[in-house]
Symmetry: C2
Amino acid sequence: MAEGMEREGIAPRKRPVTLRDVAEEAGVSLATASKALNDQGRMTAETRARIQETARRLGFRPNGLAQSLLRQRSFTVGMLTNDTYGRFSLPLMAGISEALVDNGVSVFLCNVEDDPRLGQLHVDAMLEKRVDGIIATGKRLDRRLPIDLSQLGVPVIYAFTEPDADAIAFVSDDEGGARLAVEHLVRLGRRRIVHVTGPARFAVVHQRAAAYRAVLAEAGLAEAPVMMGDWTESWGREAVDILFSQAADGPDAIFCGNDQIARGVIDGLRERGIDVPGSVAVVGFDNWEIVAAEARPPLTTVDMNLAALGREAGLTLLSLVDGKPVEPGIRKLPCRLVVRQSCGRPPGDQ
Amino acid sequence: MAEGMEREGIAPRKRPVTLRDVAEEAGVSLATASKALNDQGRMTAETRARIQETARRLGFRPNGLAQSLLRQRSFTVGMLTNDTYGRFSLPLMAGISEALVDNGVSVFLCNVEDDPRLGQLHVDAMLEKRVDGIIATGKRLDRRLPIDLSQLGVPVIYAFTEPDADAIAFVSDDEGGARLAVEHLVRLGRRRIVHVTGPARFAVVHQRAAAYRAVLAEAGLAEAPVMMGDWTESWGREAVDILFSQAADGPDAIFCGNDQIARGVIDGLRERGIDVPGSVAVVGFDNWEIVAAEARPPLTTVDMNLAALGREAGLTLLSLVDGKPVEPGIRKLPCRLVVRQSCGRPPGDQ
């Protein structure tokens, strides 16, 4: 008896029946449920009838606005990237997908590399497929994708790439991230902190260096000239050679611009017989698992929270698609410090 | 005068005018040109008229079959992966894109992780968008994607994942790749060759080990027990400890199951004061740039040619979409050896 009631949907419901409820009950995707109830799309007559019957049985009552939105929506979102290597685009995509999948939306990723012709081809294809919106991502905050997305006629969100003016964009707060790293070193009692980082042509190099200088000034510590080189392990090792080749006191902490440099620094120090973290503490940037976790000792590093950034971008795109107003502008999302063993323990943490 | 002739298209043509010629001349995508000539799709009346005029001027004459194929085609292909990390899926995607972009086709990548519900959602979305076909990729040759693709009604190609029976699949020839590595060591005069590799639950571990044993047998050399562990640097270092902790002769060459193990092996040898390649030669597997090129010395390693594999998969899918017959079966594509400095020079190469 109770079972029968449950199956008939007579049990009390706390909230209105949604399209999602109908789709789950009928065992179909949201997109299919939407098409069935709007008499659109390809499916067998049996499937359509079954979904409509399920909606009737559950008491699904789409309101006018929702219905018209459903009609227009394709439940797909296009994602553009020029990050062929995937270091940045894949965590972003994981976050975007996570936000959208729960709303029954699929993400289609296209790689436009740095080729305007490719960019146009893929954006045309996305528009032909009537994606509900586009998320543009990249590998550098100071470079644009090779295509103008300002007049597409669908909502566009920028994430981890340089946006158009008046666009909605999400980027990592690199200054804030660098602050976390240097403040951590100061709090651990380090006094001679140097910064070894990447090439001057990257905007983030200057943002992180500015934060390094600011934190040292606030702590009343002397800054050393910022050492710029490649984003490589070999530059990290070379920097150690430079820093420790003189007889004078070397640094007691090195804040590195990425994890590869930090790994080279750690290897260089170990090979000189200098203890990490005993004599020198090391912090990286990126939290690239494969590099950071296998360092000896494992690397304390700044994580840009790319998956969270992707999730925010995805949810904001959904708001736009739903017709909700979103203020334009660039949102900087906070980084977090991942503490492993390359700096030793914080003083309070015995 | 000559200029005018060229611009009017009166200059002699060696081959029939294709849709691509029309699209390029009109400055639009292939998909747009196709839609314009078939009176389909969204575009302004001016654009449509301009494209049709361009086709007329160039003398474009679609044959009946081509025209009907064009009408049905969407010029998009769906790509599925469960490789969240992107180590394998991104080189594959680069190859697939390269093959398809020249034919005006966009690739939409969806990550299905290992979740059947996600897989169904994304495949449904691709079919709703009427993709011309689907390429299923993965991160292991001995695991299936979490979704049945055997009855989709569009062509499906498998690349670097376990295929359905009777499917068309492209995989790397891991035995052949391992052969390249061990034969290289034998040719260099190494006589005590060991194999340090990943966990036994991976089919490729057994395929590569079989090739290792076969090459040693053919060369009349003694095999050592295959050492299986994790796919990590730390396992590589640990293996060196095991191999060189006894007083007896250690190996003079180590063939590693991946580049991370090889990197650990190289670091372990250096820290024991054992010269690479002087005393011990090391070969890796994967040619993962970031690991292989930064090893000290840089790593000689097997490259699975994933981009070429993706390109073949993409071209084969296009053939299927064009209605050409393709024999089902699994195609093993050759690997190649990338020679850097961890084995020394071949004897003939002075």
